[in-house]
Symmetry: C2
């Protein structure tokens, strides 16, 4: 069961002018489930993407990078679930290109104007015939107002669709930002997450969008982890159709740029947190906040050491304030000159450890009370500087083992 994750309804999700969505059931892995999503963008849109740093990146990730680099105007995205098209060699690359070519033909655009995405099982060839046969169905279904179905069409082990939509005023005109994402396991995004797509009708110049997506990825998808496994297919895309009446956004620091950037970050962060709330087997939503570090990088290291420790994660699952495990993780995070006598540890407002040792005033029942909550903040004060970093993660339960021991069956 996801942790405090609201199920989105179609009514919550604003359409984005200049973007249409088409969904089909192509039977990629299982019959009778939505597994192909096509997004069509109006001419004049700008698109930015960031992708996994996994060196074993999937074929569609390679093709996306090529197509974005070639700077043809991107006009369509095609996403399939059920198969990740990763670890598939030359055949996989040919299949990703064939998918772009086929969709381009149907839409009357060039193959280089299509970005392909895949998610699902690794190291099995994409059933390309079934995927290509599904494309006309998705194209004929294209319509503006189907974000909930789109979110459903990209799910794998997700237990519920993830979609967030907001409207903000930019220069006195409403601008819409609507996004979807998927992911529940193999989640330790490095530059992006499994699959995240955000669209807006704002008009945003390419260089501004490129800068904004990097920032948005940093504070959202690059700040969550479920199991520490960086996926082969992580992709995060922001699309701006420019069809709103709001003034164009041409800088990061203009009033419009700041307002839009903040809204984009908020949508991306809510989507990223949704992945953690629906993390495989998750029963707790944990915020790990590292403060008073020398720089953001060392705070990040400590946060991930805590967020990836199986011992810490199983203690959260058990609601057991076995909090020495958190100190141990801080200690092995890789800060060579860390002074343990400067470190304080809080669980929500409870001071658990002070100056590196158990706080004499700490009572087990206070820790126990916080550990029983569904949402918990772990705060570590390093006593070394002014930098801080926040990571969101979940616990480690029997269901995680069951889900991943049974995934392919």
């Amino acid at each position: 069961m996801p942790v405090n994750l609201k199920l989105p309804t179609a009514a919550d999700l604003f359409p984005v002018a200049g973007l249409e969505l088409g969904i089909a059931e192509a039977g990629i892995r299982k019959a009778n489930r939505k597994d192909v999503l096509v997004m069509r963008l109006a001419p004049g849109s700008t698109v930015s993407g960031v992708f996994t740093q996994n060196r074993f990146c999937a074929a569609p990730v390679m093709v996306c990078r090529e197509h974005l680099k070639a700077k043809q105007e991107i006009r369509a995205l095609v996403i399939n679930t059920g198969n990740a098209n990763a670890g598939t060699g030359e055949t996989g690359l040919a299949n990703a290109r064939a998918t772009c070519a086929e969709l381009a033909g149907q839409l009357g655009i060039a193959p280089g104007q299509v970005l392909p995405f895949s998610t699902g099982v690794i190291m099995e060839q994409l059933p390309i015939d079934r995927l290509l046969a599904g494309l006309p169905k998705a194209v004929s279904a294209l319509q503006a107002d189907d974000w909930l179905s789109a979110a459903q069409a990209i799910m794998t082990t997700d237990t519920q669709p993830k979609a967030v939509s907001r409207q903000v005023q930019i220069g006195g005109h409403p601008v819409t930002i609507t996004g979807i994402c998927k992911g529940a396991g193999m989640i330790r995004p490095n530059m992006a997450t499994m699959l995240g797509f955000i669209a807006t009708d704002a008009k945003v110049s390419q260089h501004v969008l490129d800068a904004m997506i990097a920032k948005a990825a940093d504070v959202s998808f690059n700040s969550v982890t479920v199991d520490g496994d960086t996926s082969t297919n992580d992709s995060f895309i922001v699309m701006a159709t420019g069809q709103s009446q709001a003034p164009a956004i041409t800088g990061l620091l203009t009033p419009e740029g700041k307002a839009f950037g903040a809204a984009l970050n908020a949508v991306a962060t809510e989507l990223a947190q949704a992945i953690v709330r629906d993390g495989e087997g998750a029963t707790k939503f944990i915020t790990v906040r590292i403060e008073a570090g020398r720089d953001a990088e060392e705070c990040r290291k400590v946060a991930y050491a805590i967020g990836h420790s199986p011992l810490v994660k199983t203690a959260f699952f058990a609601s057991d304030p076995n909090l020495g495990r958190i100190l141990a993780a801080v200690g092995y995070a890789g800060i060579a000159d860390l002074d343990q006598t400067k470190i304080d540890l809080y669980l929500d407002d409870v001071l658990v450890a002070k100056d590196g040792g158990r706080n004499p005033g700490y009572r087990e029942e206070d820790g126990q009370r916080v550990m029983k909550q569904a949402e918990i903040t772990v705060r570590v004060v390093l006593g070394r500087g002014d930098a801080a970093r926040t990571l969101w993660t979940c616990d480690f339960s029997h269901d995680y083992v069951s889900i991943n021991a049974d995934y392919r069956s």
Copy 2:
């Protein structure tokens, strides 16, 4: 249930001349269990130690480092289970020193000649009165031939004692090497493991012993992982009493040095593997062999990425050849210029992936057959150079979650 781990018997374990063992039940955490071990060394022994790189190292680790650095002749070790004396601040340090002082008084030696060790729960103060009260019992029990009880006395979540003993001929005379260790969780040793003690009656000069322990740790305890959690208390000690008739070992590359070093490495490796075989919840013993890397460090990174991946470990638990997860781990291991098209993956003798993609001749049933075995070798050929590295690890099961969700209760 441990994976193919032979239960040692008292008859398997040779006593080491010049070393006596004393065991007591001090009720540190639970009543009626052996939880204090004293080792007394004859004058003229040499002792080397390596310790955790965790910056949150435990109080006894700090005291061990001090005492070894001061170069007084080490004459005794004292080990307790039930409490790790880690995350315990100044009080913890005072307790570790008090333990040394009390034992020194009873043995008629100086406190600086005692090395203290603790293992168990973190961030709770050592019940020092109970520990001190147990010392006279352990001292009065000192005898040469009690290695099996010693191995039992240092267990925590271990399901069985771990002890290895060998005799080798050095210069025509028998030399004995006997060692014990403990550990099943919080196992990702960095310079040493939770607790490992090896004693020999060989005569080994201090600088040779220091060099040999580094090598032995590298090929044994530093080459295993259970859950990736580097402990606060890792300590690995080698003691040489010099009471054998064999010629003194004064160099690493002399015939005697090579013979003794090889035997020491073998004993250390068998002990380290015992920890993995008895890893918390383990049902499989996995050898991860990385070959054709540019250097040992990058091979190590890839091996640990595979060995720590919860997705890989749960697939092994399920006997499911979901082997793309291994490729994904190789890809995120942190080798920036890794070329995926050069990589081959073997499961035992089965070629699963070739040149970064699924081997066309690979059949699922071949992978399935290997995955069902209790012992499996994953071999990744990076195609970048001549370096290699081996890591031993285990799978990730429901029992791991149960054990760590219930540890303190």
